[in-house]
Symmetry: C2
Subunit: 366 residues, 2 copies
Amino acid sequence: MLALMDEAVVAGTFTRSATRSAPVRDCQRKLAQSEDGPAAFLVNSGNSNAFTGRLGKEAVAGICAAAASALGIAEERIFTSSTGVIGEPLPWQRIAEAVPALRDALDAGGIEPAARAIMTTDTFPKGASAEVALPGGTVRIAGIAKGSGMIAPDMATMLVYVFTDAKVGREELQEIVSTACDRTFNRITVDSDTSTSDTLLVAATGASGVDASGEPAFAQALQGVFHDLALQVVRDGEGATKLVEVRVTGAVSEADAHRVAMAIANSPLVKTAIAGEDANWGRIVMAVGKSGAEADRDRLAIRFGDIVVARDGFRAPDYSEEAASAYMRRQELEIGVDLGLGDATAAVWTCDLTHGYIDINADYRS
Amino acid sequence: MLALMDEAVVAGTFTRSATRSAPVRDCQRKLAQSEDGPAAFLVNSGNSNAFTGRLGKEAVAGICAAAASALGIAEERIFTSSTGVIGEPLPWQRIAEAVPALRDALDAGGIEPAARAIMTTDTFPKGASAEVALPGGTVRIAGIAKGSGMIAPDMATMLVYVFTDAKVGREELQEIVSTACDRTFNRITVDSDTSTSDTLLVAATGASGVDASGEPAFAQALQGVFHDLALQVVRDGEGATKLVEVRVTGAVSEADAHRVAMAIANSPLVKTAIAGEDANWGRIVMAVGKSGAEADRDRLAIRFGDIVVARDGFRAPDYSEEAASAYMRRQELEIGVDLGLGDATAAVWTCDLTHGYIDINADYRS
């Protein structure tokens, strides 16, 4: 996948993995520098160029040199991503040779094929867009994402590319991106495993001529596009049949609320119960207990959607297993937990754990 | 299950879950007190008496009062455990009424039926024993355990009861038990989920007349029985087909070594690859990276058994995928990771993640 911009301010967030890939390290180095100007994103799937040592760095340099020459822009402005098998040397010459053909095939409306090109175990291409009316005019935002397994982003998700024609400065864009990422991609989990390749890159081309600086509506719209893409990633979680929102309230701190929500969202026992459409709320109790967050059994309340299952540390007197079971048959579920201790809240999104996940991952070589 | 001791020093460790069960809380309170003397362990399966509020506490009190009266020993010396569904009130009267029959059926050789009586999703009863020759004579140790899911002990494992006829003081016994537990039950994981009922109780009756105080051989033998039982729990992990030892060396601290080992042992992607007999070492790299431990990609070495897969952050030049694939078909596997940074080590034990786990947990109500 190739995206070429005549002019762009670029911001991004990346995996915090200690074994992150060569292209991730290269992007981080380039973003730390301070030029703007023409830029390109170049992405391959099939090989992640992670854990490939010196050869990995050489591969990135080789691809960037070839792209710089074919596209006529500085190497420092070529941002690459690779996704696929870990630990295999990347046959980068094949990518370098393909750049001119990719350039000739560039199409201003080509975002849907781009979303397809970066898929691995994804079952559908993922895209989202928004238009925001600002005082100076309307700006547009469009983004694509890939990812369905090894999803527990710890800075960003698998691969996400978002483009806008808004005018906005680099520092402000980075701040908006980091905040929005923290509220969207960092709140999803498929299998608690964090990729070595997680990359989110945002390019603001300014082509609209509309200044988005200091406009909360722009930051909000960008976050909306992130949220939409993040939920598509969970919905396409490997083997997933359900999208689950876990909403924790009443925690003493946001960190505690997040910890409880993630403990529930990552619990194999909770996720298999959801796959079995079993209103097994005892496993929610278990996950709250193991989370390490401050919790008081006698203040805990649990609900499935609007159905109150337990309150004050005990099964609700009017709880109906039948109603809860009917609710569990839905495709989109909300699990609510109130810790009854404070005002902090957090929401995360996850999916169920099914035979499909085992099928995919006992065979697919990632 | 009922175990009755005319005289016993009792020590134990328990789940650190914030939503731990009523019997766990009761045992912890009793162990904090300081009497020795006659004692009994009384265990039911089918209902865990966890998240049952005031009724849970009343149930424990009711059972202990009935047992104290039937057995002629103090309520404070009756230690109960319950395992099974979370959140359902325990019909404790049925247990209280059963105590006299349990007492009449007591059998000095009845440890194997006891191991069977505490099973839930276990596929085989778990027992281990040892004899230790000490300067004063020989002492014996025998223990039973149950557990196969919701296993990521955070102080102990599901339910474990160990008996010895050695003479040893309570403080020393507790210290030996805590240390041994930390090196055995706290090093296993089936599914990263921590039970609300984890209980390990050890009774030293002194019936041998042999003083085991200050004898390293006794502590070692007790740890050996723990280790044996812990590995039986993993081997019987829900749906498990393989027993996997993860051994981490070269870490800067033992905490880091443990963190890396657990990240590997709990990774759904590593565990499904093992189920698929796929020598997918890239997922080991991923798990090291996400663990949060200090790691340097360029010093990392990975092996399957004696087969060196990667060293110095790169696939080993003589690595044979064929040899690794043949190794993965074994029933017992060792995954070795050397971080190349320091001298600290850790080992943990886990199993694979299979369709069987999904089958059991999409249906079984725990």
